[in-house]
């Protein structure tokens, strides 16, 4: 059983290393991940939003609904901890 697991791990590892050669170089400006949306954000953030900080522009404006969900997740986590651990009293 252990031999089978070892063989499976080695097989998947060889495939991954084989595929790693096709990855784009680190920081490559022509990589697909940075060529389309990333370039779009860098070009348009200042004129769209008027905020110098591109990170804040993406976080709060382009992906605003996602951030609202994150805040709700934190709220839910706090409510859950209070329900599980709070001693006595009301919420």
């Amino acid at each position: 059983m252990k031999l089978k697991a070892l063989l499976a791990v080695a097989f998947i590892g060889i495939i991954l290393f084989w595929a790693a050669g096709d990855l784009p170089a680190f920081g490559d400006p022509e990589a697909p991940a940075t060529r389309y949306t990333g370039k779009l954000y860098v070009d348009l953030a200042l004129s769209d939003i008027g905020v110098e900080n591109i990170v804040a522009a993406i976080l709060a404006s382009y992906r605003g609904f996602d951030t609202l969900g994150e805040v709700v997740v934190i709220f839910t986590a706090g409510i859950s901890v209070a329900l599980l651990l709070r001693r006595g009293g009301r919420l």
Binding site: G50, A60, L68, V71, G89
Partner: protein
């Protein structure tokens, strides 16, 4: 008595500076490094320092569960309300540009992002403090 006078004095001196720095990080979110999540956690860290120095019950008397419930709900409400306000001029939910275009005030988009960050900071600060209260509560026995 394990409370040390040095710890009390130093934390009494440090807590206002930590809180001012937290407010700076929250308000500076749209211009530089920072944001609501980080600033809220820094603000909660000042409460953790107060709990270490003065004890849980002393801090809880000043910043009780009533404040925590109010602030955490108010933060989300600010965020969602600003999102809803964007519907009035005909934009999408959370599309701040529609308000800016309708009112014609320059840089309003950035100010709305600041308001949203303040809401995030309120919720994160209240929830982190609430978790610290609940996990540090020993039910009356001294730790």
């Amino acid at each position: 008595m394990r409370r040390n006078v040095i710890i009390k004095t130093v934390s009494r001196f440090l807590v206002p500076f930590i809180q001012v720095y937290a407010l700076y990080v929250i308000v500076h979110g749209a211009l530089g490094a920072g944001g609501g999540f980080q600033g809220g956690v820094v603000f909660a860290a000042s409460f953790i320092l107060m709990i270490i120095a003065f004890g849980l019950t002393c801090v809880r008397e000043r910043f009780g569960y009533r404040w925590i419930v109010m602030l955490s709900a108010l933060g989300i409400t600010i965020y969602a309300t600003i999102g809803l306000l964007c519907l009035i001029p005909g934009g999408n939910y959370l599309e701040y540009g529609s308000i800016e275009a309708a009112l014609g005030i320059p840089h309003l988009h950035g100010y709305l992002i600041d308001a949203v960050e303040i809401g995030i900071g309120m919720t994160v600060m209240a929830i982190m403090t609430s978790i610290i209260y609940d996990m540090g509560d020993t039910g009356g026995e001294s730790p």
